[in-house]
């Protein structure tokens, strides 16, 4: 039993040391900048899905499709009017399928809503700055999207980062379950 116990433990240890941050599973990262939707697929733990079919849909309407490039990236023009969440699907063809959903708010939230807000704010307080409100809105939007994009990317990565602590907690949970099962069996005797 000791040898038997040692073998899996060695395996686990090797795996944990070899690549603590690696994992498996595909994710899609997508961002909207200046009227273009772009992004890429990635495998948790490394690797990009290259030359893989992707497809973008808004509700029932297909927006665009194509194949990812060497970096697993895709891009297409953002739709004029966003009526439903835009869903980008990557399918490697071997059962790895991942989706990213971009809600309408990611497309600069309805060209209708934002200028309305803008008008509300400046008109009573400061009388008419020279630039037209919709222009400012578009500029701010583009700038913010540009600034936020790397942050979003980082968030996505952190979200998927495998930590040794997660791994260890899983293993100890399993050991705990085994202990509970043994205890329950011991009581029944």
């Amino acid at each position: 039993m000791t040898r038997l116990t040692l073998l899996p433990l060695t395996l686990i240890a090797t795996m944990a040391i070899a690549s603590p941050a690696a994992a498996h599973g595909m994710k899609v990262f997508a961002k909207v900048v200046g009227g273009e939707v772009s992004g890429y697929g990635f495998f948790i733990g490394g690797g990009r899905p290259q030359g893989v079919a992707w497809q973008a849909d808004m509700g029932a309407t297909a927006l665009a499709e194509g194949q990812t490039d060497a970096m697993g990236a895709f891009a297409f023009a953002a739709p004029k009017a966003v009526t439903a969440p835009v869903i980008i699907t990557l399918n490697t063809g071997d059962g790895h399928i991942a989706r990213a959903t971009l809600g309408p708010e990611r497309f600069g939230a309805a060209p209708v809503a934002l200028p309305a807000q803008q008008e509300n704010a400046p008109s009573p307080a400061a009388p008419a700055p020279e630039v037209a409100a919709p222009d400012v809105a578009a500029l701010v939007e583009a700038a913010v999207a540009r600034e936020v994009a790397p942050l979003m990317e980082r968030l996505e990565q952190m979200d998927n980062r495998m930590r040794v602590t997660d791994l260890m907690s899983g293993i100890f949970l399993i050991i705990g379950l085994a202990g509970m099962a043994l205890w329950a069996r011991g009581r029944r005797k």
């Binding site: 116990t5 795996m15 690696a22 071997d94 059962g95 399928i97 899983g170 399993i174 379950l177």
Partner: protein, 211 residues
């Protein structure tokens, strides 16, 4: 791959595979005794950890499953082991999903259990450790093929447009099957040499009477 995420499969597929997986888990739990519990837990931990080491292959990415080995060593005990490990992977790492837990458990555990049932007795009665290892390698290949077929079938039944392409499957699962064969073969050769009892799922009951 073997981890089908939430939201792809239709309800009948989820329920059907879930029920089958529950049956397998029940069979596995019934076979658990004091000796089996730590073994199931250990291999569940190995399976849990192994799936976190992903290797990019072609357009995709693969990881070890060792389901053939688990089937030989655990018999039907592979079902609870895989279920627990998959549940933890879904909860901690977002691999697969909670609704597809039954489907994924079935796809991974059933081929392993069948390999254990068919090849297990031959491996245990093999005349030399090398022969046992070779049989285990064959079992690993079959288990991977079974899992690939299960994933393909589940996707085909739910969303035909997502059915994996045979070419891509071959491209990604073939290297995986070969690596699995190597690893499983090495482990079984080692166990057959130093601890042949470890290859028996159950020492008390009649040899290889599953369920």
């Amino acid at each position: 791959m073997a981890h089908i995420p939430d939201g792809l499969l239709t309800l009948p597929v989820l329920i059907g595979t879930g029920a089958l997986a529950a049956g397998g888990v029940a069979l596995g739990l019934r076979a658990l005794d004091d000796r089996a519990i730590p073994r199931v837990a250990l291999l569940a931990a190995v399976f849990f950890a192994a799936s976190l080491v992903a290797v990019p292959v072609g357009p995709s990415s693969v990881h070890l499953m060792l389901s053939g080995l688990m089937g030989v060593m655990l018999g039907w005990g592979i079902f609870p082991a895989v279920l627990v490990a998959l549940a933890l992977q879904a909860a901690l790492f977002g691999l697969g999903g909670l609704t597809t837990l039954g489907t994924n458990t079935l796809n991974i555990a059933l081929p392993g259990a069948l390999v254990g049932m068919v090849l297990g007795p031959m491996i245990r009665s093999a005349t030399s450790p090398a022969r046992a290892g070779a049989l285990a390698a064959l079992g690993a290949v079959l288990a991977v093929a079974g899992t690939a077929a299960g994933v393909a079938l589940a996707l085909f039944l739910s969303a035909p447009e997502f059915t994996p392409a045979v070419k891509v499957l071959g491209l990604t699962y073939l290297p995986l099957a070969l690596v699995e064969a190597g690893v499983s073969g090495a482990i079984v050769t080692f166990l057959a040499r130093v601890e042949p009892h470890a290859l028996h799922p159950n020492l008390h009951s009649v040899e290889d009477q599953p369920a």
